[in-house]
């Protein structure tokens, strides 16, 4: 009589309910994302670059990057054989750009993961603990927020030395404060909600409260921030490599620009040497920006159309 006839409702465990709810919200999110034209454009653009980066060894052998194996004349303008011309030692610029996609994307993503990790950890911790720990971390965030980004990155990169891992560390360690600021604000608003009071009353540890209750609530914000942060990381990698602070053994879009500038591509009028890697940076950064804006619009409908 009063027993629900729908079987699935009766046996739903809390876990299953959570799962269904998550799946539904994910579906809603995907539908809204698909309706964003610029977001889908960004995603397509990104997919193409990711594919090129993954398939780089199939498109050009690694030996195409070897200066000693280059046979063509230096500074050849684009032709059928070399669609993007050649560099100062006769290597195909297209091969350099294709291989450069790997390092630029990997550094951009890895640095962002590091920066998000630090930013989220500091943000949640400083929002959760009200005492000296929270205040201290908040102060630290303030300090790092004010220190100019590029000079700090330059100083760190100089002290650490040049390597692939170090450039990831430098970018990750210098770009976390803005994330921490946003996450802290969100944590403070989550902390006031009744379910956290309940968790506290039931004796949940601080770690439990932070990871099981606060983290899932700040996660969407973290993700929206991540896509925007990747674009900043890629721009930073390009800038640092251009200043000669990148990994000396790897080709990235920034290091191609550095070599081209140092080899006098400008006075040679070799626009193809410099144009291609720069356009790649712009396209990838734009792709991440468009995706990030689309996600932000979905999470915060007030921003719609802005």
């Amino acid at each position: 009589m009063s027993v629900p006839t729908d079987d699935s409702r009766k046996i739903a465990s809390p876990r299953a309910i959570t799962r269904t709810r998550r799946r539904a919200s994910r579906r809603l999110f995907l539908t809204s994302f698909r309706s964003s034209r610029s977001g889908m454009f960004g995603l397509t653009l990104l997919a193409i670059f990711a594919l090129v980066a993954i398939l780089a060894p199939l498109i050009f052998p690694r030996s195409a990057l070897d200066v000693t194996q280059a046979t063509a004349a230096p500074f050849l303008p684009p032709s059928f054989e070399f669609p993007l011309g050649t560099d100062d030692s006769g290597r195909s610029v297209l091969a350099l750009v294709v291989w450069g996609a790997r390092i630029s994307l990997v550094v951009g993503l890895a640095a962002t993961v590091l920066s998000m990790f630090i930013g989220t950890a500091v943000g949640i911790t400083s929002g959760h603990f009200r005492g000296w720990l929270g205040a201290g971390l908040d102060r630290l965030t303030d300090w790092f927020l004010v220190i100019p980004y590029l000079p700090l990155a330059i100083v760190l990169a100089t002290v650490l030395g040049r390597s692939l891992l170090n450039i990831i560390i430098v970018i990750g360690v210098t770009s976390w404060p803005s994330t921490a600021r946003i996450i802290r604000a969100q944590t403070l608003s989550v902390e006031g909600r009744p379910y956290l009071e309940r968790a506290k009353a039931l004796g949940g540890s601080n770690f439990h409260q932070m990871t099981k209750h606060v983290l899932p609530n700040v996660m969407p914000l973290v993700l929206a921030n991540t896509t925007l942060a990747v674009s900043i990381s890629i721009l930073s990698e390009t800038t640092l490599s251009f200043l000669g602070l990148g990994s000396p053994d790897d080709v990235s879009w920034g290091s191609i620009l550095e070599e081209g500038f140092a080899a006098g591509a400008i006075s040679q009028g070799a626009w193809w040497y410099l144009a291609a890697p720069g356009i790649c940076v712009v396209l990838v950064v734009l792709a991440f920006n468009l995706i990030g804006r689309a996600i932000e619009n979905i999470l915060d409908p007030r921003l719609e159309l802005s």
Binding site: L150, P151, L257, I266
Partner: protein, 345 residues
Amino acid sequence: MSVVPDVAATASPVRQQQHWSPSPTSRYVARRVLAAISTFIFVIFFNFFLFRIMPGDPIALYTRGRNVDPIQIHELRARLNAPIMEQFGQYLRNPFTGNGPSVKYSAPVWEVIGPHVWPTILLVGSATIIATIVGVWLGIRSGWNRGGKFDQVSTNTTLVLYSMPEFWFGMIMLIVFAVGVGPIPGLFPTGGISTPGVDTSSVKGVLDVAWHLFLPVTTLAVIYLAEYSLIMRASIIDETSQDYLKTARAKGLMDKMVRRKHAVPNALLPTMTLVFLNLGFVVGGAITIEFVFSINGLGSLTVDALSGPDVPLLQALFLLFSGAVIFANLVADLLYGYFDPRVRT
């Protein structure tokens, strides 16, 4: 036990009589100034210890990639082997020069830095003024008619510009307008800030400097106006939904007047704060632009100090850049507090 209410009872009338408690405004100013000072103190500590807690032989870091006289190395080692607190005391007496003279120029860092300040201020100053004016104008126009043709074109363009490494844009400008591509002849100089031998205080000299700075200033301005116009657009859109605009329209004001007299003054505030906040970052952004356009400013000096690296010079430059940003931040905070009393609580 009864002490507490007693104090409260006697203290409050006293305070009322003598106006003893500081006003919210002065408390706001004091708090901001203290925050700026604490940040600068942090930077001073950070700048010293960062270079000393890193693993490895510091001599290797100081002299990497150069042949250094053994006597010089001996002096350097003696200086670095002094007790850390003694070194720190030395450094605190003058944080700019306390790390010793510039390794590369063998001169006090202050003397090395001095002549490089003006080119940077000239470059960054003119680029910021142009970027602010054009960015604000673009933001107002596209925000006021959101979704229109102008808005679409302007927002898409600014998004692309916002995704651009400024030094790359500079190099493309150089190739196209200074070296010349195809039918376009080279119109502008490829670098420097003036033609050697021209007196920069004469009319001809000023024009010469303007001609030299045209490309780098345009590059920086174009990159930075992208951000300003996006922010200005967002804050104009924020204002369009406010009630006071409805009131202004209801009393029959023309659209142009509503925009100029009501929406823009309110929307300008966040953008202006951003301009000041960015001032420090613009100084950093000028590093690559100066390098590309061979402008002998602080940015080129930084790049120069990197190849070496010239650690004492680098430390002094880092301190200078950070100090500039902290100061710009303080000015932005105080201006915001002055124009928007709500934040002064």
